[in-house]
Symmetry: C2
Subunit: 266 residues, 2 copies
């Protein structure tokens, strides 16, 4: 006797296939993760996307549903337009196609108090209903942690890999290891680790040591300096304004491209 | 005709009353929140608890279920002991009673990949089953965001108030406002705002300006300096080791006590 298919499992499979179908015009989907909050995932996601966009078409998805920060980093204040049957049109900014929950909010400081299942629903809706068109890269800025959003992305998106961002602090390194272990459980490639806020205050070289210990690739470091914060507050992208930032992120992008098997394209 | 009571609502009410019953020996429950990750909630929670514990009995609950960092900050490597029918015994360290998910993990770098409902279940279990005994204060270190853990704590714990931690960066300020708006929706008192990582790199004075704008209390600032990170990496509490940190946190604790109506007790 055949067992009846489980309706929840069926719905999840249908959703996954809808998402894969909707994202099939995008060559490489890269998630920027960290485990710990405040390590600079958004900084890395935005600047990596900007460097890649110089020779490629690039989308940027803010997967932080309750505290979305991408729009603030890019000075975006517009809300989405929706075409046809619920198709979200990304906002174009600095040559990037951007989707963030912030483009659905009336007020930036309203708390989005959704429980996990709603977070996943919101995120899956972005994955299913956004008109990305054809893209070379989609950079996904993940929220902290290894819970709902991270699970949804790893389960539903055919990621080319993850970029792990950590500061040199001990607790950030532990949480970065968690993100890496999570990726391994889902058979997602770890493209490499970035050391952010490198310098005297938080330390230096620790992320490279962790990468070595775990047998992963070290992508490079970003020095802790105020210009990166100041440019973000103005809604400007550091790599477009600062030679130093450009040099740091170009080096990171080159190794990411090499890891993806794409050469001389960044 | 009377409607049948909704079994889910009944279960939630029962859980809430079990939690209130279990925590009734604790005078003041204070949640340390921020919205954005990496603003230094754990630093503030640990040091505030340590200052308060000089003249009071204090518990410290790590409400970050998937990336718990309290044990690392306090150098705790022990696991819980459980007495009787599933009663968790907090770990005693530096005079504090500490409960963290990390005390249930075999390996610190294993990812806890729970979806939201499991996060809430884990957290509620700590709230229901911990033997805190009689305490003057319970300091709760919240995870980033305004989702599951924050909702569970605000719904189930009779908080005396929240302490909001923000760096002076624009995005942290926006997310701090979200945490404050969330507290207001739950009628939870905002004890005040702390500016962490104050200084040249991230800025200075912005959190005090935000407090003024929102009509809330500014509790004080903590300067960005490497000793705070270095002491935490050694499992030591900054206020016990550094005069400067002690001065900063004593000032914060004094205002918190005043806000709670407790005088000359910190």
């Amino acid at each position: 006797m055949q067992e009846k298919p489980n309706p929840v499992a069926l719905r999840m499979l249908k959703q996954r296939s809808d998402i894969l179908e909707n994202l099939k015009g995008i060559k490489f989907k890269i998630a920027v993760m960290s485990g710990k909050g405040g390590t600079g995932k958004t900084t890395v996601a935005v600047n990596l996307a900007a460097v890649l966009s110089r020779k490629n078409s690039v989308g940027l998805l803010d997967a932080d549903i309750d505290c979305p920060n991408i729009n603030s980093f890019l000075g975006i204040k517009e809300r989405f337009s929706v075409k046809g049957e619920n198709r979200i049109q990304p906002i174009e900014r600095f040559g990037l196609k951007v989707v963030s929950m912030a483009s659905l909010q009336e007020e930036a400081d309203t708390a989005i108090m959704w429980r996990g299942p709603m977070i996943s629903t919101g995120l899956n809706s972005f994955l299913q209903n956004t008109d990305w068109g054809k893209l070379d890269f989609l950079v996904i800025d993940m929220p902290p942690g290894t819970s709902d959003a991270a699970l949804s992305i790893m389960q539903n998106v055919d990621l080319a890999g993850i970029v792990v961002v950590s500061t040199p602090q001990g607790v950030a390194l532990t949480d970065a290891s968690k993100a890496i272990n999570m990726a391994k459980k889902f058979n997602v490639k770890v493209l490499g680790l970035v050391e952010n806020m490198s310098g005297e205050i938080f330390g230096e070289g620790e992320v490279e040591s962790l990468a070595k210990k775990l047998g992963e690739t070290f992508l490079g470091g970003i020095e802790l300096r105020k210009e990166i914060r100041q440019l973000a507050e103005k809604g400007l992208i550091a790599v477009n304004e600062s030679r130093e930032a450009e040099k740091e992120f170009k080096a990171i992008a080159q190794i990411v491209l090499k890891q993806l098997g794409v050469q001389k394209n960044g």
